[in-house]
Symmetry: C2
Subunit: 110 residues, 2 copies
DNA sequence: AATAATGTTCGTATTTTTGCGAAATACGAA
DNA sequence: TTCGTATTTCGCAAAAATACGAACATTATT
């Protein structure tokens, strides 16, 4: 009998990967940065920052929303987007912890 | 004449997205965490932590290596992997700056 | 009611990612 | 030289990501 291996990913690792994946495209990084730098942010403003079609921008926004990093609010006839601060902090904490776990170790191979 | 738009992504945003993308899969997060927590880390050890085939592990390692987050060293007949600390710090700095740019603002929509 | 303004959704095409098993590679040991 | 160990590469398939234009939905204005 082979030794048992617990082979599932942890919830935390799944969550961190989810956040990272959402950030894994320059358009989405640009969107997040843009939103993080201002209060009022309509779809059109965001589209204006990017070298891609409206439909594509909309898709990227949907992914960011699904990952929880932003939120949208209809303000007819426009749509106002902004950072979801609660989850933003959560993401920040996840990344912080992740990177802190690689503090100086004496004997790594480099 | 339409107003000119500078529509290229910045190098920094491309780089950050690249790091984020590399971290955008639970297997790769798990690998990075594992490597960050120890000094000696052979392929087999890594494979043992994951619920996927060797070939797939090898692919994920390649992506992490291509993104610059890890490095491998042949130690015949094994291959020893470790965190690339230089780029790790770089990535950490990128994420830090990114998240810090969303400090408290008074009037966001949430 | 027709038009304009603002986004989203649909349909589609292309590329990339994820995953596996089998074959290949490299090399030390028998 | 053949065998076993350790890992990568190959070939393939399925699924997901990226991107676009066209069509649609909504509401404001004429």
């Amino acid at each position: 009998m082979d030794s048992y291996k617990n082979k599932d990913y942890t919830i935390d690792n799944e969550q961190l990967a989810r956040f990272a994946k959402a950030m894994g495209h320059p358009a989405r990084i640009t969107i997040l940065q843009f939103l993080a730098s201002m209060d009022s942010c309509y779809f059109g403003d965001i589209h204006n920052e990017l070298p891609i079609a409206k439909a594509t921008v909309s898709q990227h926004l949907k992914e960011l929303k699904d990952a929880g990093l932003i939120q949208g609010e209809i303000e007819t006839p426009k749509v106002k987007y902004c950072i979801n601060r609660e989850n933003w902090k959560k993401a920040q904490a996840f990344f912080d912890v992740f990177f802190e776990n690689c503090k100086e170790k004496t004997s790594c191979c480099n």
